[in-house]
Structure formats: structure tokens, C-alpha cells
Subunit: 334 residues, 2 copies
């Protein structure tokens, strides 16, 4: 018999159906990382030397040798920094002007790198730029929510090879986030503690779903993971907003994120993946009940009518086995 | 500038970003419907004559010539009809035994048909079996929600070519459904009317997003469609639970569903799609606030990190243009 598990943070129910399961290593993808990618492409707008191919940059992180990370406007922005936040209500038809920010963060001057293969300092530089852009953009009072996310590979929604991530700052709070915050608030009111801190404590005590621990962060597969290798990285310190991360924590997050992505890269053969940073809306900053975190979703399974029609998920892999597999992956080997 | 639209029923915000838009016919898929599919395959468990290859059938619709539609157990059931509904609570770790039902509805004895190409009577037979299975399974008190859905094509999550759909009956109410019901209830309490009935009335008055009207059903692209050609079919009569559909309404729904799927088939060249029937949980039947409906999602776009990280969507097609395109598709031509 299968088992249903509920994620108390998202309130989602997941069916763990291992009868249709593959062995953990069968989730591994075709040998994409053996395709040789050049370190420079002359028509790539993100490559070193091609800076004039992007729109005007909003931020650049330099060292003595030149730029390390750049933030530039998205070429096809979903949200624009020009204009006012205007809401239109006409019966049930409700709309809002698409004001906000939509930036691309070019993670490295080199075309052929990916987080899993970068130096820790390179990854730390990306996180520094995330924080800088987050802090800067939150000053814009039209913005209510800032999302930072990465699409790696075609199956994860990007056609651009050059390592990059994105920032989208919306003039609304997404309903899903609003609902989760309300649930977290209710848990705090009922129990007097942060549900995320409690989850982290219980996951650490159980141990079997932990992938990697560093000084300030813990990477684990949630008890009710939505899909095989669905990973959460939680800061140990309670903090609601991503931009409260300290310099020391950023360096430690770089170690943690790189380690986890490298384990996926080696263990699952460079699968397509998305990650995103989930942080509190900009109007609320310090709260006792919400805790920012990173979610990583390797694209090793497909959602179908059941998931679309219910918001529930079927995970064909036991989270404890997926975590054991990733713990065992030796990342020195690549 | 882009526009954000809110769907009052799902409360989801969608960014309508037509700057990156394709022409409507560019969403068209490769020429899949020109691949010749045989009408019988000897190893297909769903083909006429191969009935012994499935588990014991739970229902069969016959006419003088033999069976028309069969309901059989899913070979890899996500939920099992054996056992008790047992809930386990251990701190934040909450689980439930996977009791329920997971059936496959074999839509036709022929291997090479698809809803778009069937006779209206064939489609009506499928809907009759949906209703029979729904009514029968709702008697099981362990079941809280019944989902009926279809995955058409590999990109929509099926590898089986033979026309089929599925029924999943879960021992929980999916959180997404619970939240939508609460919102619908609140709307009713505030406004004294069903939000779905109001939506249908306003969509009919606006007209520009309507695809097809039949006597008892209306197919339209919602104002805040999540993706290009995201379609809803609403019954005109207020009714919360799918199994309240009458015989006359079933025949009319067959006409409507077939017409819409044929417009997609012709206009978008047989894209992969999912549809699902959204109905009230089995414990609540007649309510003034909830209204069952069918959602159809052609798989012509990909969700990426932004959608995963926010629950918001970016739709690159203007719903009014998608609807005008589908209205104009001539379905006599194939």
C-alpha cells in the first residue's frame, strides 16, 4: 500500500508510491555533461567581452581581474520598472499594471561553468549579488514580493546555456505565498514557535532525510517531498527575509548550495533543475513565524493531470532513499 | 507594459506578457496526427480482445456489438481499495494510509481514436462511465475527493497511446481544493451568489473569451488563463458535484467537449493536453457556493523557476486572442 504524507509548511498532500519506483540511480539523465561547451561564444550576450549586447546593467561585482557577476534587465521583461501600480476592478475582472523588476543575474563571465563546477568564491559572489539586488529593489514601494530563481537546462525552462539566474519583483503577493504565511502565522499562534524552525529541528533529529549540513545551513529532502530529489536548504538561524543573511552566512551558503548541486550533478548526471529562494513579502520583515529558505527541484519527473487537477503530487521515490543516495554521492570524483 | 490579472476563483495572479508572444498558430505542435496509429495492437492491454491483460474490471458499458467503455484498476495504483484509513501523527510528520481508488477508464475499444476524432455518442459513453464510477465510489466513506482526469500524449504524462482517462479517489481533501472552497464560501457570504455563476455570466456578457456554447455548457478561456489555451467548461446550471449531471446534460457535454478538443486538435495540431473535472469533496454535495467544472490545459508552454517558486504564472498569449483563434478554427476540415 502507498502512503500519503502531508507537508505541514505547504499543507500539500503527497502520495509516496514506490511501487512504480525506479532505483535511485535510474533517475540519472543522459550524459549531458559530456557535451563540450566552449568557455566563450561570440553571440552570447552574457559572455565576457559582449557586455554591450545586454541592456544597461543595474549592478556589477568586480575584482582586480574584471567583473565576476552582473545584473542586467531581462530582454523580455515580465515586469517593468516604469509606471505606476494601478489596479483596475471591473466586476470579476481584476487587473494590475505590470510594474516591478525583472533582472537577469549573469553568474560568471565564463560560458561553460555551472554552479556545481564553480569555486566556492564564485558561488558566494552570486549570492552577494542576490542580496545586493534584493536589498536595493525592496526599497521600491510598488514591489510586494521578490523572487530569485534559477532555471538550469531546457527541461527547466531556459534555452540560454550561459550560467544565469533571475530576479522577479512583483507588485502583488502571490496567493500561494499569502496562504502559506497565514498557515505559518496560525501555527505560531497555536504553538508559540516557528513551524520552519520546528521542521528543521525534527528533520535533524530524524536524520534520515538530511543531505548535507554546514555551519549555518542544512540541506534535506522534506518528509513529504513533492518529487524525487526535491530539496530544501534552511538557514539554522530564524530569519524571515533573505536579505538578512550575513556575510559569514553567505559564504557558508555558497559551500552548502555548491555541495548539493554538485551531488545532483554527479549523482543524477547533470539533470535540469530549478531553484528558488522563498522569502517573506517586502512589507513584512522580521516575523517570528516565517523563515526564508531555498527549494531545489531537479526535473526528473513530469506532472500530469492528477497533479494539475488536485495540487497533490505523486512521488515515486521514498524521500529517505533519495536522501541516502545523495549523501553517498562522492563529489570529489568530477 | 505587461498586465497582471487575477483569477477570482483560484485567486492566482497571472502575468500576461505578450511581448514574448508568438502568433497563435505558432503554438501549433509538430505533425503528430499524421503518424499512422493502428486500430489494434496485440500487446495493448486496452485493445478489444485483450481484456484479460487488465485487472478485473469494475464496470463495463456495453451495446449490442460488445463493450464500448471499460473501467479497470490502474496497474500501478497510487491508492488501494484495501485497508483502513489510518492517520499517523508524529510531531510534524503526518501520514495516512494510501486507501482509495485508482482506476483507468478505457475510452474506446479502438487503439487509434482520440476524443477529438470520436463520434459524439462515443464521447457521451465515456462521460456516462465517469458518472457511474463517481456515483459508485462516493459511497466509500473512506474517500473524500474524487478526481477524474486525462493525460493525452507524452508531454502530458502518459506513455500509453490507447485512449484512456483515470479516476483517483483520495482519503483527503487536497489543500488547494480546500482553500478554493473556503474562498468560494467567503464570496457567497459576502455577495450572496455563486462566484462561478457570476464568472460565467460576466464571461458570457463580455463574449470575447468564449470558445463554444452549447445548450447546457459554455467553454471559454478564463480572463486570467494560466497558460495559452487554458480552457474551462462550465455547466450553466449551478451544481456542486459532477455526479449531479443529468442524462441530457451528459449528451450536451459530449458535444461541447468533443468540439473544444477538436478545435485544439485541428488548430494546434494535436498537442499534448490534460483535462480534469473539478468537483466538490464527497462529504459536501449540494452547496450554493461551489460549482463543478472541467479544466483543459494544452501543453504548449513550460513552467519554470518563476512558476515553481511563486505559484504565479506567465502567460505569453492574450486570452482574448487565443479564444478568437479557437473560435475561428474550422473543425469540419479534418
Amino acid at each position: 500500500m502507498t502512503e500519503l504524507r502531508q507537508n505541514l509548511i505547504t499543507k500539500d498532500w503527497v502520495i509516496i508510491a514506490t511501487d512504480r519506483s525506479k532505483r535511485q540511480d535510474e533517475f540519472s539523465q543522459i550524459n549531458k555533461h559530456q557535451i563540450v561547451i566552449p568557455s566563450y561564444k561570440k553571440d552570447c550576450p552574457f559572455c565576457l567581452g559582449n557586455e554591450e549586447l545586454t541592456g544597461p546593467e543595474s549592478f556589477r561585482l568586480n575584482d582586480a581581474s574584471g567583473w565576476k557577476v552582473r545584473a542586467v534587465p531581462n530582454k523580455y521583461p515580465a515586469l517593468s520598472p516604469e509606471g505606476e501600480r494601478v489596479r483596475n476592478i471591473n466586476g470579476i475582472f481584476r487587473s494590475l499594471s505590470g510594474v516591478g523588476h525583472h533582472e537577469v543575474i549573469i553568474e560568471n563571465p565564463r560560458h561553460d561553468l555551472t554552479t556545481a563546477l564553480m569555486d566556492v568564491e564564485d558561488v558566494a559572489n552570486i549570492i552577494k549579488v542576490y542580496r545586493q539586488r534584493y536589498s536595493e529593489i525592496r526599497k521600491d514601494r510598488r514591489v510586494q514580493t521578490i523572487m530569485i530563481f534559477k532555471n538550469h537546462g531546457k527541461g527547466a525552462g531556459t534555452s540560454l546555456e550561459h550560467p544565469h539566474s533571475q530576479l522577479a519583483a512583483t507588485p502583488v503577493v502571490p496567493y500561494e505565498l499569502r496562504v502559506r504565511i497565514q498557515e505559518a502565522m496560525r501555527y505560531f499562534d497555536d504553538m508559540g514557535e516557528c513551524l520552519f524552525c520546528r521542521t528543521l529541528a525534527e528533520e535533524l533529529a530524524a536524520g534520515e532525510r538530511i543531505i548535507f549540513e554546514s555551519e549555518h545551513f542544512v540541506a534535506f529532502i522534506p518528509y513529504a517531498a513533492l518529487s524525487p530529489f526535491h530539496i530544501w536548504i534552511f538557514p539554522r538561524r530564524h530569519s524571515s527575509s533573505f536579505d538578512e543573511i550575513t556575510d559569514e552566512e553567505m559564504l557558508d551558503l555558497a559551500v552548502n548550495l555548491k555541495t548539493v548541486l554538485r551531488k545532483i550533478y554527479v549523482g543524477l548526471n547533470n539533470p535540469d533543475y530549478n531553484y528558488n529562494i522563498r522569502s517573506i513579502p517586502t512589507d513584512e520583515v522580521r516575523t517570528d513565524y516565517f523563515h526564508w529558505y531555498i527549494a531545489i527541484v531537479p526535473r526528473v519527473s513530469l506532472t500530469a493531470g492528477f497533479e494539475l487537477g488536485s495540487g497533490m503530487f505523486i512521488n515515486t521515490s521514498l524521500p529517505e532513499e533519495s536522501a541516502a543516495f545523495l549523501r553517498s554521492v562522492n563529489i570529489e570524483s568530477c
